[in-house]
C-alpha cells in the first residue's frame, strides 16, 4: 500500500491527514498553529503518524501548504536583502521600483534598485538594446551591498523575455549561485505589479528555504522518505525545488487547498466553498474543480501585485469570533479569541462569549460543557446565529455571477456555526472530514503547468497559436511531475489587446494531471 500525507497550515490550526491510494483518509489531526509555524507542523506530523497504523516507508508523497511566506511579508520578518533590476530605460523612469511600497517593507528588503537600458514594445520589437556593460557595473555594486536575492523585470517581458533571461545569465556570472526571480515567470502584463510580485518572491526565498528544509528534515527524522511537494495558489502542487524558486506562489495556497478539498470531498466541480476557520471565513468559487481566479490586482502586505490568486472574500467570522450585544443589536467578530478558544470560550470554562458558544447553545455542535451556557438567553443566541447566517449569505451572494441558486460546500472546523440551509444555496453540503478539507486538498492536489504569453496573430492562425500554447502548458505539467496519461487542459483564456494593431492576443493556458503513482 502506498500513502500520501497532506499538511495545511492555517492562521489558527495546522491540519494533517494521511490518505491511502484510493484517497481514503486513514488518519487526521488538528493542532494549534505555532508562532514559528514549523513546530506546529512537527506536532501535526507526530499526531497523525501516531493515529495511523501504517509503516512509514509506505508514505510516498508528502504535500505541504504553508503560510510561512505570507506571514514573513505581513510581519516583515526574515526577508532577504533584494537587488532589484528593472530593464526599461529610457522608458519607465518617472515611476521607480518600490515607490508605492510601505517604508518598513522597503527597509526590510534593503531597497537597492536600478533601472537599466533595454526592454521591448508590445509587438516584441526592442524598445532599446540591453546595456550589458551597465548591468555588470550594477551587479558588482549589488555584490558589495551583499544582496541575498535578485529580482529582474523588463518592459513587456511577457511578450518577449530575452532581456530578462540574458540579464539573469550576467547576474549569475558575477554573483554565482544567488536566487534570481524573473518577473515574466511570476506575473503578467502591468510592469509595476509584475515587478512587485518578482521582488516579493525574491524577498521570501530565504523563508521558503527554511520552511521546505525543515519539513524535509522532519520527515527524514521520522524515517519517511517521501517525495515532497508544496501547494500553490491555484490549488496545484509544485516540487520542493520549484517552490524554492517561486515561493511567492504559495501565498494563498491555504484557501486554495480548502476549495480543492471541498471539491474532492463533495464530488462537485462547480460550487461555492465556505471555509470557516477560527477567526475568518473564506468564501471562494469552484469552476471545473479549481478555484476561480481573481481578475483584479491583489494587495499583499500593502503591495499591489498581479500574479494569479484565487478570487476570495474573507469575512471576520470564525469559531472564536466574539459575540457582543450592544443597544439591542448583535455584533459578531471581527475580534476573535483565535487559537485560545479552548481556554477563553464560555463553553470551555472561559469568560468570553464566542460564536462557538452560540452554536453549542443552539444544539448545532457538541463541545465542552453546555451547562456553562445556562445563563445565555435563547432569543439572543438565535439573533446571533441569524447574524452569522446573514454574514455568510451576503458574502456567498457577492461571489455569484448571477442570482441562480448554487450548491454550497461547508468546510473548516468552524463550519459547525452554520445551519443546514442558506439563502441562495440550492443545497448545503457538509462532507465527511470537512474539518480537515484543507489538508485533504493538499494531499490530493494535482501538478500543473501553465503559459501566459502575448502572441501575434499577424502571420499565424488563432488555432495554430492555441495549439502551441496548450502543448507548452502540457509539457510544463509533465516537467513538474504529472503523469502524462492524466494531464488535461483545465483552463484557457484569451484576451485580445485593445487599441493595438497586429492582432496581438494574450493567451493563458493551464494544464494539470495527477502525480505518477
Amino acid at each position: 500500500m502506498t500513502y500520501r500525507l497532506g499538511i495545511d497550515v492555517g492562521g489558527t490550526n495546522t491540519d494533517a491527514v494521511i490518505l491511502d491510494k484510493d484517497n481514503k483518509p486513514v488518519a487526521k489531526i488538528k493542532v494549534a498553529t505555532t508562532e514559528d509555524i514549523t513546530t506546529g507542523i512537527l506536532n501535526a506530523l507526530d499526531g497523525v503518524l501516531r493515529e495511523a497504523s501504517i509503516s512509514l516507508d509506505e508514505i510516498e508523497y508528502a504535500m505541504l501548504g504553508t503560510t510561512h511566506c505570507t506571514n514573513a511579508i505581513v510581519e516583515r520578518r526574515n526577508l532577504a536583502r533584494v537587488g532589484i533590476i528593472r530593464i526599461g530605460r529610457p522608458a519607465t523612469l518617472s515611476i521607480k521600483p518600490l515607490i508605492s511600497w510601505p517604508d518598513d517593507l522597503v527597509s526590510a528588503i534593503g531597497g537597492h534598485s536600478f533601472i537599466l537600458q533595454g526592454g521591448h514594445e508590445f509587438d516584441g520589437r526592442e524598445l532599446a538594446p540591453l546595456d550589458e556593460e551597465e548591468l555588470r557595473r550594477i551587479v558588482k555594486e549589488l555584490k558589495e551591498k551583499k544582496v541575498e536575492s535578485v529580482a529582474i523585470s523588463a518592459v513587456f517581458s511577457p511578450v518577449n523575455n530575452e532581456h530578462e533571461l540574458r540579464a539573469a545569465e550576467i547576474v549569475r556570472e558575477v554573483l554565482g549561485d544567488v536566487p534570481i526571480s524573473l518577473s515574466h515567470e511570476i506575473g503578467s502584463i502591468g510592469l509595476l505589479e509584475r515587478e512587485n510580485a518578482a521582488v516579493l518572491n525574491a524577498a521570501v526565498v530565504k523563508v521558503a528555504k527554511t520552511a521546505v528544509k525543515s519539513f524535509e528534515s522532519a520527515l527524514r527524522e521520522k524515517g519517511i522518505e517521501a517525495q515532497v511537494y508544496i501547494t500553490q495558489n491555484d490549488g496545484t502542487l509544485m516540487s520542493a525545488e520549484y517552490a524554492l524558486k517561486y515561493p511567492v506562489l504559495t501565498i494563498a495556497s491555504g484557501p486554495a487547498n480548502s476549495l480543492r478539498g471541498g471539491a474532492f470531498l463533495s464530488g462537485l466541480k462547480n460550487a461555492i466553498v465556505v471555509d470557516v476557520g477560527g477567526t475568518t471565513t473564506d468564501i471562494g468559487v469552484l469552476v471545473n474543480g479549481f478555484p476561480r481566479e481573481s481578475s483584479v490586482a491583489v494587495e499583499i502586505g500593502g503591495v499591489r501585485t498581479n500574479f494569479r490568486m484565487p478570487d476570495l472574500i474573507s469575512i471576520g467570522l470564525g469559531g472564536g469570533s466574539l459575540v457582543e450585544f450592544v443597544d439591542g443589536k448583535v455584533r459578531v467578530g471581527p475580534k476573535s479569541v483565535g487559537y485560545r478558544l479552548e481556554k477563553e470560550a464560555l463553553v470551555f470554562g472561559g469568560d468570553k462569549l464566542t460564536a462557538t458558544d452560540i452554536a453549542v447553545h443552539l444544539g448545532r455542535a457538541k463541545l465542552g460543557d453546555p451547562s456553562k451556557l445556562s445563563g445565555l438567553d435563547r432569543s439572543l443566541a438565535e439573533k446571533a446565529a441569524d447574524k452569522m447566517k446573514t454574514m455568510v449569505e451576503d458574502a456567498i451572494d457577492r461571489m455569484k455571477t448571477n442570482p441562480d441558486p448554487v450548491p454550497v460546500i461547508l468546510v473548516g472546523g468552524g463550519s459547525i456555526l452554520l445551519p443546514g440551509e442558506l439563502r441562495g444555496a440550492s443545497q448545503v453540503i457538509r462532507p465527511p472530514h470537512f474539518e480537515v478539507a484543507n489538508a485533504i486538498g493538499a494531499a490530493i492536489a494535482q501538478v500543473s503547468g501553465e503559459i501566459d504569453r502575448v502572441f501575434s496573430l499577424e502571420e499565424r492562425g488563432r488555432e495554430d497559436v492555441l495549439r502551441e500554447a496548450k502543448e507548452i502548458a502540457i509539457q510544463e505539467a509533465i516537467k513538474a511531475g504529472a503523469d502524462p496519461r492524466t494531464v488535461e487542459i483545465v483552463d484557457v483564456e484569451e484576451v485580445p489587446l485593445a487599441y493595438l494593431p497586429g492582432n496581438a492576443i494574450r493567451i493563458r493556458v493551464k494544464a494539470a494531471g495527477y502525480l505518477k503513482i
Partner: protein, 371 residues
C-alpha cells in the same frame, strides 16, 4: 520659479493631498477614464526628488499667458507596461512653445476624472510651472474633442506628441476630429502610447473655455472620504456634500449585461433597491463611462451629468470594467459644468451623441421633480 509666475498665489500639494486628489479623480471618472494610480505615483516621485507641485487658481492666470494642457493617450495595456520616462511631455511642451514663440506659463489636465487627471502634476513640477486648478471636462470622456475647450472654439492643434526616445511630432490639423484621428495613428507608431501637449490657449481663452476648480473638487472629494473613514462616519454623505451631488439609489447589482452593437461596447447595470429603496429598481447604461440612469422606467440622470457607483461600505468607486453581480452600492449623481448644458455642449457630449434617445435634463431639476 516664483518670478516665472510672479505675483500670483500658488498652493503646494503634499503627498496626502495627491492621494486625496487621486481618490476624488476616480469618482469623477464616472466608472471609466482609467485608474489615476500611475499619474499619482509620478507625482509622488517628483515630490520625493525635491520638485514642488504648485496649483494656481484660474483667475490668477494672466490673460496673455500661454497655458498648455498635458495628457497621455493610447492603449491602457501599454500605459501600464511601458511607464513614461517623464521627459516626453516636457519635450512636447518645448516643441510647442518654440513653434508658438511663447513661454509656457502653466499646464493643466484635459480631464479631471480618471487616468489623465494626475499626470500633469509631475509635468508641471518638473517644468517648474504651476498646474491650473481647472480642466476641460469636469469628469472623464473618451475622445480628444469632448472638451469644453472644443465647444468654446479652442482647437486641439497645434499639438505635440512625444515618446520616450525623443521622437517628437508637431501636428496641425483642419479640425479637432482630424486631430483625434491622426494622433491615434502616431500613437501606434510610438509603440502604443504618446504623451501629448495640446489645446494651447491664452489665459483669456482659458477663463472662457475651462471648467474652474475641478482639481480642488477632486481633492476635496478624496479628503472627505478619508476624514469620514477616520471618524467612522458614512463617507457617502461627505461625498455628496463636497460635490453638490445627489444620492440617486442604494441597492444590489443583480445583473450586468455587456454587448457590442454598431461598433460600440455598451452595457447595462441592473440594480435592485435595498433598505429605503426596497421594491424599486435602477438601470445604469454605460459605455466606457456611466451615461444614463433610469429609475423605475424614468430617467433620473444622464450624461454630461456625472453618474458614479460607490461601494456601499468603502465608498470606493466601482468601474464599468470591474462591475459585476452582487456588489452593493450607492449610486450618486453630480451636476456637470453649465458649459456642457449648452446646445453645443450637448451636441458634443449629450445622451444623443452616445446613441441614447434621451432628452437631457439637468440632474437637480429631475431630482426636484422626484421629490
Amino acid at each position: 520659479m516664483t518670478s516665472y509666475h510672479g505675483g500670483c498665489s500658488v498652493r503646494s500639494l503634499d503627498k496626502e493631498a495627491i492621494e486625496n486628489l487621486a481618490v476624488g479623480a476616480a469618482i469623477l471618472g464616472t466608472g471609466g477614464g482609467g485608474d489615476p494610480y500611475l499619474g499619482k505615483l509620478t507625482a509622488i516621485q517628483a515630490l520625493e526628488e525635491g520638485y514642488e507641485i504648485n496649483i494656481v487658481d484660474i483667475k490668477d492666470v494672466p490673460n496673455d499667458a500661454l497655458v498648455i494642457p498635458s495628457a497621455g493617450m493610447g492603449s491602457p495595456t501599454v500605459i501600464v507596461e511601458k511607464l513614461p520616462r517623464g521627459t516626453e511631455i516636457i519635450n512636447a511642451f518645448k516643441a510647442l512653445s518654440e513653434y508658438l514663440g511663447m513661454e509656457v506659463y502653466a499646464t493643466m489636465p484635459i480631464e479631471a476624472g480618471g487616468l489623465n487627471s494626475t499626470f500633469p502634476l509631475a509635468v508641471g513640477a518638473k517644468m517648474g510651472v504651476p498646474i491650473v486648478d481647472a480642466d476641460g471636462m469636469g469628469r472623464a470622456f473618451p475622445e480628444l474633442q469632448m472638451t469644453t475647450f472644443h465647444i468654446n472654439g479652442v482647437t486641439v492643434t497645434p499639438m505635440a506628441l512625444a515618446d520616450e526616445r525623443d521622437n517628437i511630432v508637431l501636428l496641425k490639423t483642419c479640425d479637432n476630429y482630424w486631430a483625434e484621428w491622426i494622433a491615434r495613428d502616431i500613437t501606434v507608431r510610438f509603440g502604443g502610447t504618446a504623451w501629448i501637449a495640446l489645446y494651447p490657449m491664452t489665459g483669456k481663452e482659458l477663463k472662457k473655455a475651462a471648467i474652474p476648480g475641478t482639481l480642488g473638487l477632486a481633492e476635496r472629494l478624496g479628503r472627505a472620504i478619508r476624514d469620514a473613514k477616520e471618524r467612522r462616519e458614512n463617507p457617502i454623505e461627505a461625498v455628496l456634500e463636497a460635490s453638490n451631488g445627489f444620492e440617486l439609489f442604494k441597492g444590489k447589482i443583480i445583473d450586468v449585461e455587456r454587448k457590442t452593437t454598431g461598433g460600440f461596447a455598451r452595457g447595462e447595470i441592473r440594480i435592485e433597491g435595498i433598505e429605503e429603496y426596497k421594491g424599486q429598481s435602477l438601470v445604469v447604461h454605460f459605455q466606457n463611462e456611466n451615461l444614463v440612469a433610469i429609475k423605475d422606467g424614468k430617467v433620473i440622470a444622464s450624461v454630461p451629468d456625472l453618474i458614479t457607483l460607490l461601494d456601499l461600505e468603502t465608498a470606493v468607486p466601482i468601474t464599468t470594467e470591474s462591475v459585476k453581480y452582487g456588489y452593493r452600492c450607492f449610486v450618486i449623481g453630480m451636476p456637470c459644468s453649465e458649459m456642457w448644458r449648452s446646445e453645443k455642449g450637448l451636441e458634443v457630449a449629450g445622451p444623443k451623441y452616445f446613441g441614447y434617445d434621451v432628452e437631457y435634463k439637468p440632474i437637480e431639476k429631475i431630482v426636484g421633480e422626484f421629490e
